[in-house]
């Protein structure tokens, strides 16, 4: 276990987890977070559930356009222009 591991550090890293997942952080910060994750089960569990949440959101299926709406849109084109 990391000796300098404390709640404040978790808090600081917790704020950056999305940017970490999206690879929007610099190499240094990335390395720090990676290292922290290896020693902190809480933050790691947080990361894994957050990643899964993002994947789930991205994979929700689209619905087809109701034919009534398509009809209205075509009608709009014909009568407005």
């Amino acid at each position: 276990m990391n000796t300098d591991h404390n709640h404040d550090m978790c808090k600081a890293y917790f704020a950056k987890l999305s940017e970490f997942i999206d690879q929007e952080l610099g190499d240094d910060v990335c390395r720090d977070i990676q290292k922290h994750l290896e020693s902190c089960g809480c933050c790691n569990a947080c990361l894994e559930t957050l990643k899964k949440t993002i994947q789930l959101c991205a994979n929700i299926k689209d619905k087809p356009v109701p034919s009534e709406l398509s009809r209205k849109l075509k009608h709009m084109i014909r009568h407005r222009i």
Binding site: C42, N44, L69, K72
Partner: protein
């Protein structure tokens, strides 16, 4: 905003469509609707409270798109410009229905209390494949959580994680800073994550 240096225009997969419409080929409006109404309708479903509102949003968006496309200056791609219109229609609709003050999301509240509930290992659902998890019930659960997000957060999460826009594109569509997109996105994701955690913890 990414600009092409020589013309100040963003390269656009819809260039032929834009050119045709600007030449007055109004028949191309139908092409525009065929191509983008599925996208805008599903965007509407994710950001509106009901299917009826989503349909209104699509119609109102296309009215504005038809009206202003002739003046479209290509500072963004056509697709992004259409999303910008749809997002502003969303805000207008919200204002019209009477604005209930929405709560802000604080990071503090979304942060798990490490001392109270020390979850040291990821729960089982974090390891299961998406295809296995994502049945109709879970889709409904997630959509419900998204619908409970305050509007500024919901718009960012939907654009970034569901519609596939980058941080910069999302910032441009919503006229906010990229830093603001990142802050809102993180909190919105954590909010949905908390809801999923709760869902799995209380499942029989």
């Amino acid at each position: 905003m990414i600009k092409n240096n020589t013309q100040g225009l963003v390269p656009d997969e819809d260039q032929a469509l834009i050119d045709g419409i600007k030449r007055g080929e109004t028949g191309l409006f139908e092409t525009l609707v065929d191509k983008y109404s599925p996208r805008l309708y599903n965007f509407g479903l994710k950001i509106c409270k009901s299917r009826e509102d989503a349909e209104d949003l699509v119609q109102e968006s296309f009215i504005n798109i038809f009206r202003y496309v002739k003046d479209f200056r290509q500072e963004a791609s056509l697709k992004n410009w259409m999303y910008r219109i749809a997002a502003s229609v969303c805000w207008k609709m919200k204002r019209k229905t009477g604005s209930i003050k929405e709560k802000d999301l604080s990071l503090e509240e979304l942060m798990p209390d490490h001392h109270a509930s020390p979850e040291q290992v990821p729960p089982a659902w974090a390891h299961e494949p998406v295809a296995q998890l994502l049945n109709q019930e879970l889709s409904g659960q997630i959509q419900n959580a998204i619908s409970r997000l305050p509007t500024p957060y919901r718009l960012v999460l939907v654009l970034r994680d569901m519609e596939g826009f980058s941080t910069d594109e999302t910032a441009d569509i919503l006229s906010i800073t990229p830093a603001n997109v990142k802050v809102r996105l993180h909190r919105a994701r954590l909010f949905v994550r908390d809801d999923l955690k709760e869902y799995y913890e209380h499942r029989p």
